[in-house]
């Protein structure tokens, strides 16, 4: 929040002239709104904002499931406005999750590095060196299946599969038997194709893109007798990723 303001201040100094006044005005407005918003709920008595705290502070903190449920319900309602169909609604939910995944990735790296056990990031990194970012698809999938799921939902995902069909080697599936986001949601019969975990699919897509793996992720209902809310996240990696995968395989990169 403070970064762009500082940048604007530097601009105004170097420019001078009438332009600078305008920038200055903008900046003061910016600061004004900032100070207004800082008078809100989130400023503790010792004037330390959430940005002054240590990132690992909230690592094991608990969130209210009810407040999340209400927030997510509101997000779904918001996404439902002026949509043309179920696919459009899922696309919107996906778009809501995507930036979250991109931003979450840094926190995820930070925390998995901090715990500094070599097995925490990926199962394939057997060396004693600290875990690197995933270069191949499998470590990436393990990162999503394990650490990302634990960060988001406090448990690993339930299954990780590769497409058996030879025509679609770029498809992988991550299964969640009872997605947290869908706990309280009952989709009406006329929208039975809809799965609100499209939001989570968007988060996964953001993580994949952030890692440099172009992918499309979608959420699909796969109910079973035992798990009526079972959801499969289908990851489709792009051609460039598959080509790179082949090159890396030949080079012996793990």
């Amino acid at each position: 929040m403070t970064q762009p303001a500082r940048h604007a201040a530097m601009l105004s100094i170097s420019n001078g002239g009438p332009n600078a006044v305008a920038v200055d005005k903008q900046q003061s407005q910016h600061i004004h709104t900032q100070s207004q918003s800082s008078q809100g709920l989130r400023v503790p008595s010792n004037r330390k904002t959430i940005y002054d705290r240590h990132l690992n502070r909230s690592r094991s903190a608990e969130l209210s499931r009810a407040s999340f449920a209400f927030l997510f319900a509101e997000m779904v309602t918001y996404a439902q406005r002026r949509v043309t169909g179920i696919q459009d609604l899922e696309r919107r939910l996906n778009e809501q999750g995507y930036p979250l995944g991109l931003r979450l990735l840094d926190l995820l790296y930070y925390r998995t590095m901090a715990s500094s056990t070599s097995s925490s990031l990926s199962s394939s990194s057997t060396s004693a060196a600290p875990p690197n970012r995933p270069l191949r698809i499998l470590p990436l999938l393990h990162l999503i299946h394990g650490p990302l799921w634990r960060l988001l939902f406090n448990r690993p995902a339930d299954a990780l599969e590769h497409s058996v069909s030879p025509e679609t080697p770029n498809e992988y599936m991550i299964t969640d038997n009872d997605p947290l986001v869908n706990t309280y949601i009952s989709v009406p019969k006329e929208m039975s194709m809809l799965n609100c975990a499209a939001f989570v699919a968007g988060i996964i897509e953001g993580v994949c893109d952030g890692c440099g793996f172009e992918a499309k992720v979608t959420a699909h209902n796969q109910p079973t007798e035992m798990w009526p809310g079972r959801t499969i996240f289908l990851l489709r990696f792009g051609e460039s990723v598959m080509e790179r995968e082949k090159v890396l395989e030949r080079a012996g990169v793990k």
Binding site: F72, Y184, S186
Partner: protein, 183 residues
């Protein structure tokens, strides 16, 4: 120890949910259920308004205004002999519910030799009607759990529109599962 059926009535008296939990119950038509819900809503309101009140014998306003009226056997402030100004304020305070701290509730329980109907009205005005066996105990526990499931799976569902009929699959599933697990 069986729960026969559950009816949920919204604050306007409309039927929003109806479900049977035991096989072999005689079913009513949808229209009859709507009429039943509306009728019960009216009866509930009537029972609430006819809750008997106790007269307050020692009213503080009576002695200073008209000491002569206090000697009459029934100290009635609305009598024409008393002055007109304190009448509206004191007439409302001469009668009170037996337990003034608790507001009057309507019909709570209706019992026949075949079933017992328990009504629970939430603070928001929604009514839960539970039909059980007359011998069943701890109905308040069942009612509380049903309210909890309603708050979870109906009110947190983004596809549910307030005051409209409840069509939430997960509510049905959890309700059924919980009631089955109890017996």
């Amino acid at each position: 120890m069986a729960v026969f059926s559950l009816i949920i009535i919204n604050k306007a008296g409309g039927l929003v949910y109806q479900r049977e939990f035991q096989p072999g119950l005689r079913k009513l038509s949808t229209n009859d259920y709507l009429v039943l819900a509306g009728t019960f809503h009216g009866v509930h309101a009537i029972t609430r308004s006819i809750t008997p009140k106790l007269p307050l014998v020692a009213t503080t306003t009576n002695p200073p205004i008209a000491p002569t009226t206090a000697t009459t056997p029934t100290p009635n402030v609305t009598s024409p002999s008393s002055t007109s100004t304190p009448t509206p304020s004191s007439s409302s305070s001469t009668y009170t519910y037996p337990n003034p701290g608790i507001p009057a509730t309507g019909l709570e329980c209706l019992e026949t030799d075949k079933f017992r109907l328990t009504c629970f009205q939430t603070l928001t005005g929604t009514k839960f009607l539970l039909f059980t066996e007359p011998t069943m105990v701890n109905i308040d526990v069942v009612m509380k759990k049903i309210y909890e499931l309603y708050a979870d799976f109906v009110m947190k569902n983004p596809f549910y529109q307030l005051e409209m009929p409840v069509r939430c699959e997960s509510f049905d599933r959890n309700l059924q599962g919980w009631l089955r697990g109890r017996t």
